[in-house]
């Protein structure tokens, strides 16, 4: 299957935008996480993003994988592999943070059974940092159309 020049440029453009967002968010989380590790007393949260060293590193990796698809702009179909991997990583990380938010909710429910008062705090602050507001969850949703198109494009066993 061949991808038209217009489609490959659209895919590359979408990947560049997503990759750049991931890189910015990842860098902010990583730097804040590193700072927190060295100076635990003076925690900084850049742009209100989570302070997460390894989470930031993972976002940087996803960003780099998206940007690996940049050659698709020139019609190099092999770069679709980078988009496949990037969208996969984006979706599984989004799913992971969402599951963590759900686990926080379940923990709150268990605490309620044990006599504590029910709160909705777990939705916006918990183990995943800002809970459901964690950018990676929303970026995973934004990655879905790209993932769908890339999978559809590579669906046939042979890509030429």
């Amino acid at each position: 299957m061949k991808v038209s020049r217009r489609s490959s440029r659209a895919l590359a453009g979408y990947a560049i935008i997503l990759g750049s967002i991931y890189l910015i968010i990842g860098a902010a989380e990583f730097i804040a996480g590193l700072w927190h590790l060295l100076q635990p007393e003076a925690t900084i949260a850049i742009l209100n993003l989570p302070v997460d060293l390894f989470g930031g590193f993972s976002a940087l990796v996803i960003g780099a994988a998206y940007l690996g698809g940049i050659l698709l702009w020139r019609g190099e179909i092999e770069s679709l592999g980078f988009l496949l991997v990037a969208t996969f990583l984006s979706i599984v990380f989004g799913l992971l943070y969402f599951l963590i938010v759900c686990a926080d909710g379940f923990s709150t429910l268990i605490a309620t059974w044990e006599g504590e008062e029910w709160t909705w705090e777990w939705l916006t602050s918990g183990t995943a940092g800002p809970g459901i507001l964690r950018p990676e969850i929303w970026l995973a949703l934004i990655s879905l159309p790209l993932g769908y198109f890339v999978i559809k494009t590579t669906k046939r066993e042979k890509v030429q």
Partner: protein
């Protein structure tokens, strides 16, 4: 012979053979197939996953994902088991009239075994994640990307598969070294395999990390696994340089990568169960037996321990023994209870948690009285590295057929554990 062949061929014989094989294949293919060489989805994915620059970062990111999944998603399930054991413990204390039997059931069986069984969810989730990675075909790629780095360091790439197996349990990991042809490479892989963090150590990390590392608990657990890989590579490199027996270049690693496949839920659950059930069996045998022994040692002499209104475990046999070995661990900031836990962890690493449970340190609050974040991290590192469990020692002896290498493994790991834990305490102390 091997040297002469290499000189004659210009490279390793195995590489030459593989090259020739693929040359023949590529000669035959155009004759039987028409059209352009098709590019499959597997090929496309490999472009990214095996990329020179992105391969290892993707591997690290996926590993981080696995540990956050293991650690954070399982937390409420572990809480449920913990609550159930606490309630059972309360009930048995209330309804069993015999004081000694009540203590055995509530503090020994339910306190000790319960402290270990709360780790069923993270262990099963870890195996769930590992099964997905394995069944999808990714683990073979992980071995491939890591091999590239390892071979540059002078290590055998085939070592990485036994090392990956070591994440589940060091025993199959060590047995898997049988696939390595060269004896020196095989022994070297066996020596460093116990540094790979097996699932038995996970309860210790989750238990201590969760109590003292706060928001960095998951990062702490993840770091232990990375440290294990890093140390295994470094030690193998050191042994190759320092021990004449291991000198020379490692033999070449040729790995055929399987196609990617969508893992089925049935196969993932089957793999998870097959591996996880080993933990359950261990809990019902070795850990149960260790619990009984530790409880007995911590509850007797009964009159001395129960002289006051609250039991004083320090006056027990285990207290006396703990105080004897405490000076060895004191420089690391570990008290007699931590020393005793490490001692019994020699039987099986889960027994470390079991011991804390029997000693009444099953909760985070109690643990924070024993460890600071720095000494807690040092304890986690010590647990990762020090003496492998009894069963692993047995398998090291069987596979190397040498007491020399078996004792060497025990000694070097203990020294390494001590050195690294000291380093953490010193650096952590200086940073405040």
């Amino acid at each position: 012979m091997s040297g002469r062949l290499k000189k004659l061929l210009g490279e390793e014989a195995e590489v030459k053979l593989a090259e020739k094989r693929y040359e023949v294949i590529s000669e035959i293919l155009p004759r039987v197939l028409k059209g352009e060489k098709p590019l499959t989805r597997s090929d496309l994915i490999d472009k990214a996953l095996l990329n020179k620059y992105l391969g290892i970062p993707i591997f690290l990111a996926l590993w981080w994902l696995l540990f956050r999944f293991t650690f954070d998603v399982s937390a409420p399930l572990s809480d449920l088991i913990d609550i159930a054991f606490s309630k059972l413990s309360e009930i048995s204390s209330t309804y069993i009239p015999n004081e000694q039997l009540a203590s055995f059931v509530a503090e020994g069986l339910l306190g000790g075994l319960g402290a270990v069984l709360v780790f069923i969810p993270p262990i099963f989730l870890l195996f769930f994640g590992l099964s997905i990675l394995e069944d999808s075909g990714y683990l073979a790629r992980a071995a491939f990307v890591v091999d590239r780095a390892m071979y540059k360091l002078g290590l055998h790439g085939k070592s990485f598969i036994p090392m990956l197996l070591g994440f589940g349990c060091n025993i199959p990991g060590i047995m898997a070294t049988r696939t390595i042809d060269k004896e020196e490479d095989r022994i070297l892989t066996i020596l460093v395999n116990p540094l790979m963090s097996c699932s038995a150590r996970l309860p210790v990390y989750v238990f201590i990390g969760g109590a003292v590392l706060g928001g960095y608990a998951a990062a702490g657990v993840y770091s232990m696994y990375l440290l294990g890989i890093g140390l295994a590579v470094l030690m193998a490199l050191l042994f190759r340089k320092a021990i004449p027996y291991f000198r020379g270049k490692p033999s070449v690693f040729i790995l055929e990568l399987p196609m990617y496949a969508m893992p089925t839920l049935r196969s993932i659950l089957t793999h998870m169960w097959e591996r996880g059930v080993i933990f359950l069996k261990k809990a019902g045998t070795i850990i149960l037996l260790a619990t009984v022994v530790i409880w007995f040692l911590s509850a007797y002499p009964w009159e001395s321990v129960h002289a006051g209104s609250e039991p004083c475990i320090e006056a027990s046999y285990i207290g006396a023994f703990g105080h004897i070995i405490e000076p060895i661990f004191r420089p690391l900031g570990f008290d007699w209870r931590a020393a005793v836990a490490l001692f019994f962890g020699f039987v099986a690493k889960e027994v470390v948690v079991d011991t804390f449970g029997v000693l009444g340190l099953g909760g985070a609050e109690e643990l924070r009285q024993v460890f600071t974040p720095v000494t807690g991290l040092a304890f986690m590192v010590f647990t990762l590295i020090y003496i492998p469990c009894l069963a692993t020692i047995g398998i090291i002896y069987r596979e190397t057929n040498s007491w020399k290498w078996t004792v060497f493994t025990i000694v070097y790991e203990f020294i390494l554990a001590y050195l690294l834990a000291s380093l953490i305490v010193v650096i952590g102390g200086s940073l405040g």
